[in-house]
């Protein structure tokens, strides 16, 4: 299937510091009476690259959406970069400007050009001068290899290009942490690679990343840690080699056999 092994690059060396980037303690979330996330404890260190996988409905997207307060949690605490996530809007906007996010459906702004998509938040949130913001934007657009599309509109780009623009748009805010919510799930198989390549390049620069993805090749190659979730709980977490070759829990074994067994 859409595996990305043998990309020609060696597995990224581990660069994990002792600095805590995200600390989640005893976090619980309910949708109405439905208990989506149960007693989540998770510490992410600066520079760590974590892949979260699990069957659909297991709460993995909800978990990372809680980190930048797109979803509200009802119990426990989330601390991002030393800022405790509370209902204070100032706190939330501060965290959101430090945490970049890429969505399954890109969520680019269709009424703005690619360049305007990338400069909007730096100009309005960071108060960067327009010229400087445009230079930064072009720098990151070059990095994701689409500088020539800067003056087009999102609707004129392919899915893979749009997702790379979305990554560049997040990077323009110079985030310390990047969240990826199934970034390749809405893409054609041949476009998946270009997006994964961009994410691998990002990982190699030491960005702290949390990815919800089913790309197990990506997980093997880039992740320091793989987390398996089921029914709103963290069932297993381990280094990728151990996780894939020697899963401990039955649920993980079943899941891996289903997604890798063909």
């Amino acid at each position: 299937m859409a595996m990305t092994e043998n990309m020609g690059t060696s597995p990224v060396e581990m660069k994990v510091s002792d600095e805590v980037a995200i600390s989640i303690q005893g976090m619980n979330k309910w949708y109405g009476t439905f208990h989506v996330l149960r007693d989540i404890d998770l510490t992410v260190y600066e520079g760590e690259r974590i892949v979260i996988c699990g069957p659909s409905g297991s709460g993995k997207s909800t978990l990372i959406r809680c980190i930048n307060a797109l979803e509200e949690h009802q119990a426990g605490s989330i601390t991002v970069d030393g800022t405790l996530l509370s209902s204070d809007l100032k706190n939330i906007d501060k965290i959101r400007s430090e945490v970049g996010m890429c969505f399954q459906h890109f969520n680019l702004f269709p009424h703005l050009t690619i360049l305007e998509n990338c400069t909007l938040a730096p100009i309005w949130v960071r108060k960067t001068p327009k010229k400087e913001a445009e230079e930064t934007a072009m720098h990151f657009l070059t990095k994701v290899k689409i500088p020539d599309q800067a003056n087009k509109y999102p609707g004129q780009l392919s899915g893979g290009q749009q997702q790379r623009v979305a990554i560049a748009r997040s990077l323009c805010m110079k985030p310390r942490i990047m969240l990826f919510d199934e970034p390749t799930s809405a893409l054609d198989p041949e476009m998946i690679k270009e997006v994964l390549d961009t994410m691998i390049a990002l990982a190699e620069e030491g960005m702290t990343m949390l990815c919800v993805t089913h790309e197990m090749g990506f997980a093997r190659q880039v992740a320091n840690r793989v987390i398996f979730m089921d029914a709103g709980q963290i069932v297993e977490q381990n280094e990728p080699e151990e996780f894939f070759n020697n899963p401990k829990s039955d649920r993980t074994q079943l899941f891996l056999s289903q997604i890798l067994g063909h």
Partner: protein, 432 residues
């Protein structure tokens, strides 16, 4: 076929086939007529019937129009000139031209004032309608309401100046405090404006209108198509921001604001405009402080604005609902706050989707300004129904007068519609 190898299966063309003329039935007027007018027998019958109907209408309307009389001074005189022949009596338009445009009480030596205000209107709305024009022109747009007020109503120059000063004070206060707290900036701005108006009002002496350089014209002297234009332009430009605010309020997560907006919208939409206009002319005075003589024009503007704002709010709510949730999340995830996300991401897209609906309301509103004739304001229709048709000279001239009114309204409404289509094409960025 001599140059192809006929006896083998493989085929190689060694000589290109030269271009030939198409058969004459494949293009040209005959082909067009066959495709578009006589494709099937039924289509042919429809074509013939349609042509016959057009002929019927034109054969009676054209002589009537072309044979029109433009120079007589009464209907009787007009009939004498026509001497039994078919012909329109357009002289009512030429003779009552000023009344049709300005009403019958506006001082005729002051017609240049509303005329100038009308010319300046184009300068003022140009940068709003065509956003490629230099943004500096918007300064004039901001000043235009005060200039137009002074031109049309005249009177003491202090009134528009104080009104302008109040708006500037409010805007300055809002600008300097909105960064700290939106509610503080907004409410403070409103209070600053009212304080300025109150203090400024003290400086305008009583009776300043009588000694003013520009002669004062009271609202009851306004009339004709000028009144329709004034009501239409004022109400459209006021009801759009109010409608946006109501639509956003209806989506608000604050229950109190939401309830207020829902009740307001549903109540206003559930009441006929004519009722609201009667309320404006008769009952609205009860809502203002005693002895305050709030102008009838202002009361009518409030009612029409409120009425169309409720409709525009619902149209924009449709646009907001059509936006995918991802747009809100995309804006949120970048750290934009509510005001920024709404202004930069949500509204530009929602308004673009709502353009046809908003234009629908605007065109409807403009035509509904003729309803003020019912509360004895002499707008274009009021003038026709009242002073002109009631006069002995022109009693009985219906087609010419109402046709003229129809043409004036059609020109404006068609213009609005064409502009909106241009705007939609100009803003289309998604499917290029």
């Amino acid at each position: 076929m001599s140059d192809t190898q006929q006896h083998s299966v493989a085929f190689v063309r060694t000589e290109a086939i030269p271009e030939r003329e198409p058969p004459y039935t494949a293009s040209g007027p005959l082909k067009w007529m066959k495709d578009n007018l006589f494709a099937t027998p039924f289509n042919g019958i429809l074509t013939i019937v349609a042509v016959y109907l057009i002929y019927m209408i034109l054969s009676s309307a054209l002589p009537w129009m072309l044979n029109g009389i433009w120079t007589t001074s009464s209907l009787a005189e007009c009939r004498t000139v026509l001497d039994g022949a078919v012909g329109a009596c357009f002289s009512v338009l030429t003779e009552r031209w000023n009344q049709l445009l300005f009403g019958f009480k506006y001082p005729s030596e002051l017609y240049w004032r509303p005329g100038l205000a009308f010319m300046l209107l184009f300068v003022a709305i140009a940068p709003v309608l065509f956003f490629d024009l230099p943004r500096k022109l918007l300064i004039f747009t901001g000043l235009y309401p005060f200039i137009a007020y002074y031109l049309v109503w005249g009177g003491a120059i202090g009134v528009p100046l104080v009104a302008l000063a109040g708006c500037v004070a409010g805007a300055v206060f809002y600008q300097s405090f909105v960064a700290r707290n939106f509610a503080l900036g907004f409410l403070g701005g409103v209070i600053a404006a009212f304080v300025t108006w109150y203090i400024g009002g003290l400086f305008i002496p009583d009776g300043a209108n009588n000694t003013a350089w520009m002669r004062a014209v009271p609202s009851r002297d306004l009339g004709g198509f000028m009144l329709n234009m004034m009501l239409g332009v004022t109400c459209v430009s006021l009801s759009l921001p109010l409608g946006i605010a109501l639509a956003l309020g209806r989506q608000s997560s604050m229950p109190l604001i939401k309830v207020i907006c829902v009740v307001f919208i549903e109540f206003i939409r559930g009441v006929p405009l004519i009722t609201l206009l009667f309320v404006a002319s008769v009952m609205l005075a009860y809502f203002f402080p005693p002895d305050s003589t709030v102008d009838l024009f202002l009361r009518v503007v409030i009612m029409i604005t409120v009425f169309s704002a409720a409709y525009i709010a619902e149209v924009i709510r449709g646009g907001l609902a059509a936006l995918p949730k991802g747009q809100y999340e995309g804006a949120d995830s970048l750290g934009l706050d509510y005001a920024q996300a709404t202004r930069l991401i949500i509204l530009p897209q929602a308004l673009k989707i709502s353009i046809p609906g908003i234009v629908n309301v605007a065109v409807g509103l403009f035509k509904d300004t003729t309803l003020v004739s019912v509360i004895s304001m002499f707008d274009l229709v009021g003038m026709i129904r009242g002073p002109i048709l009631a006069s002995t000279a022109w009693n009985g001239v219906y087609w010419e007068l109402l046709g003229f009114a129809a043409v004036l309204f059609f020109v404006v409404c068609y213009g609005i519609s064409q502009y909106s289509q241009w705007l939609e094409r100009r803003l289309a960025t998604d499917h290029r």
